[in-house]
Amino acid sequence: MAEQTKTSEEHYIASYHNRRSNGGKNAPEWLRLLQDEAIERFQSLGFPTVKHEEWQFTNIAPFLKTALAPSTPAAANVRREILEEFLVHSDAPVIVLVDGYFEEALSSVPDSTGIRVQRYDAVSAQQPSEQTLSALAEISSASQKNPFSALSLALTQNVIMIDVPEGAQVSQPVHVLHLSTQTGKEAAMVSSPTLLVHAGKESSLLLLEVFTGAADADYGVVSAAGVVIQEGATVDHVRVQREGAKAFHFGTLAVRQERKSRYTAFSLAMGGSIARTDVTIAIDGEDCETMLDGLYISAGEQLVDHHTFIDHRYPNCSSREIFKGIVTGKSRAVFNGKIYVHHEAQGTDSKQTNKNLLLSNEATVDTKPQLEIFADDVKCTHGATVGGLDPAGLFYLKSRAIDEEAARDLLTLGFAGEVTAFIRDESIRHLIDALIVKQLQTMVAHTALPEIVH
């Protein structure tokens, strides 16, 4: 087992150095220096085992057995139709990365959107802006503890930066689509896209980030996103993880909020064989508001894991976290939500809830809410539940002429709809609801699954 882990680490380190010595495809010098540091950190951290507290429920052995090669630019053109399913409307501003590489032909962000998009890679070797470095610092900070964050930064093919200028109000949802195309016949590959977001003072941004890939392909995504929200700015961030059924997904999301800022995130996770997302939100100023919500759906032998950390460092901030899970088959869902309230963070108002709908006897949920409070004037609550469909609700629906199967579906969709209701943008909410219905349809194989109605 230990030997396996070692081999696997050496494999990725060797991949890194191979690419590094193969000059032509390299990143700009400043990025390369960061990546050298990142691979060293990865080397010293090593891949985690279930002996690590943060990974005790998440056995990554199947990932370690699959030696993934860093992805190369896709040979074939990707048809735009593949993406349409994830677009709120067909002319929405969209940034597409295929196997981790920026895909210019499929991307389009008109100037009227109000954002600046920068890319840092071998093609576009410009110097980083101050904003870029500040967002990158969040990923660097996450990589101090998380080997996947370090690996992601080391292996990244492209750094994409979304810069929202001071005072800009971006009302159009900006789409960032990560598509993995490697089919099962070729060598299994890993892509490592890096997304940076910097929202300037008093600006606002609506962001829809999607991870998806071929259903039957063996591939991996080790991604990282760094988000900085300056004073008075708002970022609404909706993330969809619908990787292919055999994929590995390890995602890092590191956010820093300055005073009076607002961050609302919704995460829909339903793909991958092993899918783990680590979210860190550093509250770095007074009067911030944070809403971190999500829904995970797991079936078959999937493992879906969310580790979140909200770090209250300043007074008078509020955070709300509601994660729900629909867990069936032989799948396993893990939720670990840590809220840390520093001594200085008086007046913190924090609420965390994790509710799980367990639809099969063979499925497992491990939920671990953690509240650590060092301030005395705070309002903090947390709770977790794991259970089946409410029998009283089922009887009530049946007593109104609704068949058993339809009643179960309705309660399940209601369970999901309760949390998607928090998505403020209506068009994105519709999109998310539709994706959920589609996923549940394939899981429960009911053809007449109704819609989610709010």
């Binding site: 409410d390 049946k398 007593s399 109104r400």
Partner: protein
């Protein structure tokens, strides 16, 4: 007149019904017949089995039927699953309506109504047709249109939940409505609105069983028959005046008589 014809004439015939929950016998031989066009009141002290009778008729899975039978429109009601009973016109207005988070009131009602319509051989209604019908029905119980899109019963007050039950009854147009302590927790205005709703829905071809602890509701919904349930048995039946008698003398006299 032979047996078969007899059965067809009753809408509901309960014969020697015994039911238990978790091994404890609650109903201990209920006999009751209900015809189309009738309103029956079932009264009794707490714990007499009134609500159990209501739930058993609707098909609640927690109860075990140990003896007896229930014939509804000539069919063995106890063999039908709850959804089948509902499609065939049995409706229970719950004493404690259930909250269904994330499911809107209108979606829930439309799903139920369309199942009933399919069963009756009628065309299903689309969203617009249904909304029109729902708005009409909401007037009967004086419900605010904002309740259309709220999750079923979630955050409703006690009175709003009971009104919502009568709204569902108005939409589904049952043959046999069973109102389980619909008056409990209602103030006088809500009581009037709910009762008027029930009276509006009364037709020669449907029937109603009103389960209640108090006579108060029967000032508004006037029964043709009153039955007193004590210890899982009907110990006395009579006309509407029996309810007044109970109100004046309480249940104690009847209880004593029943235990002799």
């Amino acid at each position: 007149m032979n047996d078969t014809q007899m059965k067809d004439e009753y809408m509901l015939e309960i014969k020697n019904l015994h039911a238990s929950v978790a091994g404890k016998e609650i109903l201990r031989g209920i006999n009751l017949t209900v015809n189309a066009g009738e309103v029956h009141a079932v009264m009794g002290p707490n714990g007499s089995g009134k609500s159990t009778l209501a739930q058993v008729l609707a098909g609640h899975p927690s109860y075990e039927i140990t003896e007896g039978e229930v014939i509804y429109k000539g069919k063995n009601l106890l063999e039908m699953p709850p959804e089948e009973r509902a499609k065939d016109g049995v409706f229970l207005a719950f004493q404690y309506p259930v909250e269904i988070p994330g499911v809107s009131n209108s979606y829930f009602l439309k799903a139920g109504l369309n199942e009933v319509r399919k069963y009756r051989g009628l065309e299903t209604l689309d969203a617009l047709q249904f909304l029109k019908l729902l708005k009409e029905k909401m007037k009967i119980v004086e419900m605010d249109p904002s309740f259309i899109n709220r999750p079923v019963n979630e955050g409703f007050s006690g009175g709003e939940k009971k009104r919502n039950e009568i709204l569902q009854m108005a939409v589904l147009e049952p043959t046999l409505a069973i109102l389980d302590e619909t008056d409990s927790g209602l103030d006088i205005d809500a009581l009037r609105i709910v009762s008027e709703g029930v009276n509006t829905l009364k037709r020669p071809d449907n029937a109603c069983i009103v389960v209640t602890h108090y006579q108060r509701l029967l000032n508004y919904i006037v029964p043709d028959f009153v039955h007193v349930l004590v210890n899982g048995r009907i110990v006395k039946s009579g006309g509407k005046e029996l309810a007044l008698e109970l109100e004046a003398n309480g249940y104690d006299q009847i209880k004593e008589a029943a235990t002799v």
